[in-house]
């Protein structure tokens, strides 16, 4: 009973997400997550604790582990690899808590989701959208880091069905968060069922719903579409727009905007590394290679 009373105060995400100092959240979140796990250990069917464990581990893996790996990749392969491995394990932990939370409301759902994902998700209604978003997000991000593991890859339709159902039920959820996620989902290439055209549509809608105050869609679009399409100018424009967003105009999203802007600045510094020289501009005499190989 005491736990139930204190939990909403203890796990108020707004306190974390409005934080201007990411390092403070990085230091504070692990303690909170272990506390939540202790609560779940004592009460395995505590719905709010399970839901927060889903979102909290997902946040930590995305905002700190995978974000740090993206930074490290430019200089230190082994550090990046280890951070991505940790992120993968944490995404799966987040997914498993999310599944347990969903099972409380929809018994037997986890098995149905694997067997017949597109049919199973029709049981979810609009009040499930938040759970779908975080469960689908954790699952999808785990798969994206574990493409060398067929047992994970096999669940791709399940993760996709969860997010498809979420956006079908509540298209403007959380000021465009689902559309922002779909920019990435549609950027996987056509062979995998993605579409750069659709990614652009989701980007436009995400920007519209967030009134241009969320840096995330700009970064996702630049990395997912502009790089794939070798559109260097668009890449630069998108990231410069992300960097120019005034974080104080959306205080509730300070943390993730700060991190997205950090990533945008990093990517801008590495623009030359992310794009091949245009075919019609490459020096046929090989002066470029002569400069690089000394």
């Amino acid at each position: 009973m005491a736990v139930n009373a204190v939990l909403p105060t203890l796990v108020n995400p707004a306190v974390y997400l409005s934080e201007e100092d990411p390092e403070l959240v990085r230091a504070a979140l692990p303690f909170l997550l272990k506390t939540i796990e202790s609560i779940i250990d004592a009460d395995p069917e505590h719905g709010d604790a399970l839901a927060f464990a889903n979102t909290g581990f997902l946040l930590y893996a995305t905002a700190f582990l995978q974000h740090d790996a993206a930074v490290a990749e430019w200089e230190d392969y082994e550090l990046a690899r280890d951070l991505n491995n940790r992120a993968l394990r944490m995404y799966l932990r987040a997914r498993d808590f999310g599944i347990r939370a969903v099972e409380l409301e929809h018994p037997g759902m986890s098995a149905r989701l694997v067997r017949e994902p597109s049919t199973a998700v029709t049981a979810f209604e609009v009040n499930d959208v938040e759970a779908l978003y975080y469960l689908g997000g954790a699952w999808m991000l785990g798969i994206s880091l574990g493409l060398d593991q067929p047992s994970l890859v096999a669940d791709l339709p399940t993760a996709r069905a969860l997010l498809d159902r979420a956006i079908e039920l509540d298209e403007d959820y959380n000021r465009g968060s689902l559309h922002a996620a779909f920019i990435t989902l549609e950027s996987v290439g056509e062979a995998l069922g993605g579409s750069y055209v659709k990614a652009r549509e989701h980007f436009e809608r995400a920007v519209e719903l967030s009134e241009g105050l969320d840096a995330g869609p700009y970064v996702a679009m630049a990395l997912g579409v502009s790089v794939a399409e070798e559109n260097r100018q668009e890449f630069v424009d998108l990231l410069e727009t992300a960097v120019a967003i005034d974080i104080e105009e959306e205080p509730s999203n300070r943390l993730l905007n700060t991190l997205a802007q950090q990533q945008a600045r990093l990517l801008l510094r590495h623009t030359d590394d992310l794009f091949f020289a245009p075919l019609d501009e490459i020096d046929q005499d090989g002066s470029e290679i002569d400069q690089e190989i000394q």
């Binding site: 909403p8 108020n12 995400p13 974390y16 997400l17 839901a51 979102t55 997902l58 946040l59 995305t62 790996a69 993206a70 990749e73 200089e75 392969y77 990046a80 690899r81 067997r115 975080y134 997000g137 991000l141 994206s144 493409l147 060398d148 593991q149 067929p150 047992s151 890859v153 096999a154 339709p157 959380n174 968060s177 922002a180 990435t184 989902l185 950027s187 062979a191 995998l192 069922g193 996702a220 990395l223 790089v227 794939a228 999203n253 993730l256 991190l259 997205a260 590495h270 590394d273 992310l274 091949f276 075919l279 020096d283 090989g286 470029e288 290679i289 002569d290 690089e292 190989i293 000394q294």
Partner: protein, 330 residues
């Protein structure tokens, strides 16, 4: 109720560049392989090994999902990038000699195919050299199998199927037609659409690809007779290679060989796991007994003999047959 927060997908699914930042020698590797796949991971491990073994003199940025291979090869000819990890299709774009590994049902086992690959390596290395490329190592994408919506156990069954073939490979399309098959040339990106609309109902694919592309969900049968090995290669332009010291070249090749060795083992484990996962989701593996396999291969051998001199240079085809027979008679 726990309040929501906004999730940012900070890293995208297929874009995860490694830059081992350059001070001196900097190379870039392009590939169509997806980030965080077995092959991408192996290439990044190899890049890290190169950097360590050469004390940072040779650094390699691995860039996955670098567009289509035809464009990649055009870029390579201009040294941007200088290194590429090519699929069988990419190698066939360079020279028809590499089509020898795509002859249907030509090899009976992995050991046999690998032995032929080793025996043919000097010839294939020369073919690459004629195209200003240096072979660093062989890649392996597993073995293609026939997936279909109804069970296929004989070549006649296969003739009744609407079979996906790669768009642009007119020689293969004509060969299939001349031998009573129903090839449907499509771009790789259109396979899922083709399966969904009934345009095709069978395709050759490695188990992993059938899983990751989700094609198997429209085709619940897999023939348990491997069609062909999917050998790729990592190559570097002559121009870049010549600018690397002999000692560093030796170190690079040794690490590349180690990478090849581990990929050739891991890809089998990956495909086996992919089959198990698909079986739990409804895939039926069509097993055929040894006498059926022998009949299958015998008929296929008669049909594919016409590849000699048409789709595969005669000397390469003959060398492959000789190496294969030598292995079988060892």
């Amino acid at each position: 109720m726990i309040k929501t927060f906004r999730l940012v997908f900070l890293s995208v699914l297929l874009i995860s560049p490694i830059l081992l930042a350059a001070q001196t020698a900097r190379l870039r590797l392009g590939s169509v392989l997806p980030a965080n796949s077995l092959w991408d991971r192996s290439l990044k491990e190899m890049a890290n090994g190169w950097q360590q073994a050469t004390d940072g003199r040779v650094r390699l940025q691995v860039r996955p999902s670098s567009g289509d291979e035809a464009t990649l090869l055009r870029r390579m000819r201009m040294n941007n990038p200088q290194v590429a990890a090519l699929s069988p299709l990419g190698l066939q774009e360079i020279d028809e000699a590499f089509s020898v590994f795509g002859v249907p049902f030509f090899f009976e086992s992995e050991a046999e195919a690998v032995q032929v690959l080793e025996d043919l390596t000097p010839r294939l290395r020369a073919v690459l050299a004629e195209n200003d490329l240096v072979l660093l190592n062989w890649g392996h994408g597993g073995w293609a199998h026939i997936f279909s919506d109804t069970s296929i156990a004989t070549l006649d069954d296969l003739r009744r199927a609407k079979l996906f073939t790669s768009a642009g490979d007119d020689g293969a399309v004509n060969w299939y037609k001349e031998n009573g098959f129903q090839p449907v040339p499509l771009a790789l990106t259109d396979v899922l659409m083709g399966l969904n609309t009934g345009l095709i109902d069978a395709y050759p694919s490695s188990p992993y690809s059938a899983l990751v592309f989700q094609w198997y969900r429209q085709t619940s049968h897999m023939l348990d007779v491997p069609l062909a090995p999917l050998f790729g290669a990592t190559v570097i332009s002559q121009r870049a290679w010549q600018r690397i010291s002999s000692a560093d070249q030796t170190a690079i090749l040794e690490i590349a060989a180690n990478t090849q060795q581990s990929v050739f083992v891991e890809v089998f484990e990956q495909d086996a796991e992919a089959v198990r996962e698909m079986q739990t989701r409804g895939l039926n593996v069509t097993a055929v007994d040894q006498s059926q396999v022998s009949a299958f291969r015998s008929e296929a051998e008669n049909l594919t003999a016409s590849w000699r001199g048409s789709m595969v240079p005669a000397d390469i085809y003959d060398a492959a047959v000789e190496a294969r027979n030598r292995y079988r008679n060892r």
